[in-house]
Each structure stands twice: as structure tokens, then as C-alpha cells.
């Protein structure tokens, strides 16, 4: 694996406000790398510095072996961007936008093919202002991927999309990766980071507080797995018998006919086996694994949505 992006001690202030104080990470070729954090954590500033859209105050940044501050034009020819809260002129039509941006690429672009592959052919004559949220995102993705960029930055890709459109967008991101590009995905949605990212940097107050694969983060920092099922009249004493002695079970309780057990992730199978051994088959047996939300809570004492 080779690194396409290395960031070391990145810092950026706006006046007296320190947006990014100390961000370091590296992104491997061909992965979907997530930058997850609440609003105002410094995510957008970080990726804007990586794209040469803002000058950093401190630290070292290399993207595709280029310095974004000193070689911004060279760099932008090789990357694609979908920016948070950006827009196109209201009256610019879809087809014209693709043609305009295609003309800026250093390699020839098949405009028809682009419109077709992003499902934009039917709306090619529609002005930007009249596009739905989903259509705008598809257009932005199409523009970001013109000219086959080696690295694609996606900032809050799915904000404002309904769940259906969000899932479609996720599929699009995976297809971008499958085409061979490296993706940097900025999001404040932990479901998105969990669903898409190979690795995630959790950012808070301008610095990285954790960095690993989502599963490893949740397993190591997210706390216990929660198992729940209906007791169906099972006596509390029996529940105690059944689970009290199981390895990996941290605690259990029975209230309102619902058994809730906190256990290590490896303990879930033992719980299920114990139930089956006593011929108990509750039909609402459910496990809730810790999420990145829990990881963030454990690391910062706050929730992502705060």
C-alpha cells in the first residue's frame, strides 16, 4: 500500500478561532477514508487545505506528492471535489455544466457517456435551480469524477438527502472506489462512516481523537454489546441462573418483561446457546453492537449531534 495523502500536524486558524489545531493522518491508495466528527470539528477546513482551497498555517501536507499550497493548479487537475454548500449558477443547465467542466480537464471527456452513467440524460436541459437534492448530488458527483481523478474529496455528500437517495449515493461512492480512485469522505453521520469507510479518522475540536477501521474502533472503544429479548414469563431466578455465570456477560436486568444483557461481543453466542439449551426461543432476540456514536461519546463525553 502506498500513501496518496500524508498530513502531519496540520493547523489552520481564522483570526483568533483555531479551526484545526493538530491533524495528522495518511490515506492509502484505493481506500475510502472517512473524516468523522460533529459540525465545527474542523473537517471541512482540513479537506479544503488538502485541496489547496485554503492556505494552512502550519504542518506538512502532501497530496499525490504535491504541496496543495504551492502547486494548487497542478493538484486540482488530478483530484475531484464535491464541496459542502457549493452551487452552480441557477440558470446553468445540467448538460452545459458537464460540458463546461469537461472542457477544463486535461484529458478528453465523453460528455454523453457521463450524463448517461449518472442518470442525468433526462434532465440535461434542466437548469441547476430546478434540480432536486438527489439530482444535484448526482451532478456534483459526476463533475467531481470528470477526467478520472486519482483522489476524490466528498464533503457532506448526503446532507439533505432522504434515506433512499442516501443509499443510492453510498453505492455511487463505492463504485467510485471500484473504478480505482481513492476517496476522502467527510461526514458527520456515523452510519455513513460505518457503511462506507475502510478507515475513519474521528475528529473533534480540530484534532484527530481516534483513527482505525470502524469495526476495530467500535470493538475497542465502543463498550459492550447489548442483547435484548422478551422474557415470556421466565422467572427472574432462572434468568439469573442462565446468564449469571456466562463468561463475557457484564450485567443483566429484567424489567417490563424484557431481558437486557450487556456482554462482550464474543459472549453473544454463549447467550444464544444458553437460551437454546433451555428450549427458550424468544422471537425478538436482538443484539445491538456499539456504533461510532458510542465511540465518539466514549472519547469526548459528548454525542456527535451536539
Amino acid at each position: 500500500m502506498t500513501s496518496v495523502i500524508t498530513v502531519d500536524g496540520l493547523a489552520k486558524s481564522y483570526g483568533s478561532v483555531e479551526a484545526v489545531t493538530d491533524v495528522s493522518f495518511s490515506v492509502e491508495c484505493g481506500e475510502i477514508f472517512g473524516i468523522l466528527g460533529p459540525n465545527g470539528a474542523g473537517k471541512t477546513t482540513t479537506v479544503e487545505c488538502l485541496q489547496g482551497l485554503r492556505h494552512r498555517d502550519g504542518g506538512e501536507v502532501r497530496v499525490l506528492d504535491l504541496d496543495p499550497d504551492r502547486q494548487p493548479d497542478e493538484l486540482r487537475r488530478r483530484i475531484g471535489s464535491q464541496l459542502q454548500s457549493s452551487a452552480l449558477p441557477d440558470r446553468l443547465r445540467v448538460g452545459e455544466a458537464v460540458r463546461l467542466f469537461a472542457g477544463l480537464q486535461s484529458v478528453p471527456v465523453d460528455v454523453e457517456q457521463t450524463l448517461a452513467s449518472w442518470g442525468l440524460r433526462e434532465v440535461r436541459r434542466r437548469p441547476f435551480a430546478a434540480l432536486s437534492g438527489g439530482q444535484r448530488q448526482r451532478l456534483f458527483l459526476a463533475l467531481a469524477l470528470l477526467g478520472e481523478p486519482e483522489v476524490v474529496f466528498l464533503d457532506e455528500l448526503t446532507t439533505g438527502l432522504d434515506p433512499q437517495a442516501r443509499r443510492t449515493a453510498w453505492d455511487l461512492v463505492r463504485s467510485v472506489r471500484d473504478r480505482g480512485a481513492t476517496v476522502v469522505l467527510v461526514t458527520h453521520l456515523m452510519e455513513e462512516a460505518e457503511a462506507l469507510c475502510n478507515r475513519v479518522a474521528v475528529v473533534d475540536n480540530g484534532s484527530v481523537v481516534a483513527l482505525d477501521r470502524p469495526r476495530r474502533l467500535t470493538a475497542e472503544l465502543g463498550g459492550a454489546v447489548e442483547v435484548t429479548f422478551s422474557s415470556n414469563g421466565t422467572a427472574p431466578a432462572l434468568v439469573d441462573d442462565l446468564f449469571g455465570g456466562l463468561p463475557g456477560v457484564a450485567s443483566w436486568q429484567l424489567s417490563d418483561g424484557l431481558v437486557t444483557i450487556c456482554a462482550e461481543s464474543s459472549g453473544v453466542v454463549d447467550i444464544a446457546a444458553a437460551l437454546a439449551a433451555h428450549d427458550l426461543h424468544p422471537d425478538d432476540f436482538a443484539t445491538k453492537r456499539p456504533s461510532l456514536e458510542d465511540v465518539f461519546l466514549a472519547l469526548t463525553g459528548r454525542t456527535l449531534r451536539d
Binding site: 482551497l53 485554503r54 492556505h55 486540482r76 471535489s81 464541496l83 457549493s86 440558470r91 446553468l92
Partner: protein, 244 residues
Amino acid sequence: MMTVHLIRTELRLLAREPLTLIVSLAFPILLLMLLAASFGTGSDADLGGLSGADFYAPVYLSATIAVMGLMGVPTHVAGYRERGVLRRFRAAGVTSRGLVLSQIALTVTLALVGAVLMVGLGRAVFDLRFPMSWIGTLVSFLVGAVAFAAFGMLLGVLLSTARAAQGLGLALFFGLFFVSGGGPPPALLPDALNTFAGYTPMGWVINAVSDPWHGASWNPGALALLATMAVLSILLATRRLTRT
């Protein structure tokens, strides 16, 4: 190449929303017609022995430049900036220089269209006398147009909202234009006001365009000031765009 793409796109967008363009082109022409009609076609002592149309034509050619540079460009560019269009363009590889140059080229082209319309209509309706020096008038007009377009670009990238840009543009235009000879003839204005007007960009462009229009002389002083204004504005606007 990039600049050509952008200009073509902007022209297409303007054609789709012609009202703004028509108003900014028609406004100076209508005012000129109004003044020419009220002063009549005879010579007037307050206008240095010229007819209303002849006296005011170079002044309102300058107004065409100023309306676009002070009101059109800043509002347009600040609107782009506010909505994230500029960031979108820059992220796609449009350079700051390409953005600045395309907006200037677009504005100068539109100002030229307005000037041709104005002179043509003035000739047809008020028997407007053509400039003494075509080339002098054209060069001065172009230098003035570039200077005001560049300054408008600078205002557009400095101000954070389209509304602020519109307000400041209006204030600058009306504040400067009517004391610089766009309203009452300078002969009727107090000396102090005329001296002040000579120090403003509006005064420079009116002097630069009027001198070759009325006589065969150029005004190198005013042209040098306008050229300096153009260069400084282009440099500062480009720098500002690159930094943010």
C-alpha cells in the same frame, strides 16, 4: 481556453436572464436621451457651446462603464461567492486568474455593446457628432472599462454578500457620477466639487473619454491612473481569490 469557456457560458446565462442586462445597458442610454432632449440640439453656453447630446455622450459612455463595473460586476461576483459557485469553479481547476480575466473580458464586451448602441441611437435621434479621434476614444473607453471591471471584481471578492455589494455599488455609482458631470454641467457646479471629481476614478474615466471625443487630444494622466487602477485591482482580486 479556460477563459473562453467561461465567457461563453456567462454570455449564455445572461441571454437567458436578459432583464438585468437590458436595464444596465438601457439606463445610461435613456438618461442620455433625456438630457439631450432637455438641452435641445442648439449650442448651450453652460455646455461650453455644445449641444446636449454632444456634451453628454462621452460622459454617458463612461456611465455605461461605471454602471457595469460598480453595480453589475460586484453584485454578480459576490453572489457567486456567497452561493459557493466560485469555490465550485476553483475546485474544478478554474484558476483565480482565469476567473478574474473572464469576468473582465465579459464586462468589457458588454460595455462595448452598450457604447455602440448609445452612439448609434444618439446619431439617429439627436444627430450626435462623432468623436474627433475614434482611436483615442476607443482606447480610452477600453482602458476605463478594464479598470472599472477589475475594480468591480475586487469589490465582489472582498464583500461577503451580494446584498452588501449591491448597496456599496449603488452608493459609489450615484455618489460619484452626479458630481463628476453626469448631472448638472460642471460649469454650474461649485469649484470645490469639480476639483474633488477630478480625483475620483469617475472623473478620470470621464476626462479620458471626453478629451479624444471633443478634441483630438488624449489624456495621458487620466489613462495612467486608470491603468494603475486596473493592474492593482486585478492583482489584489486574484490574490484574494487564491487565498480564500
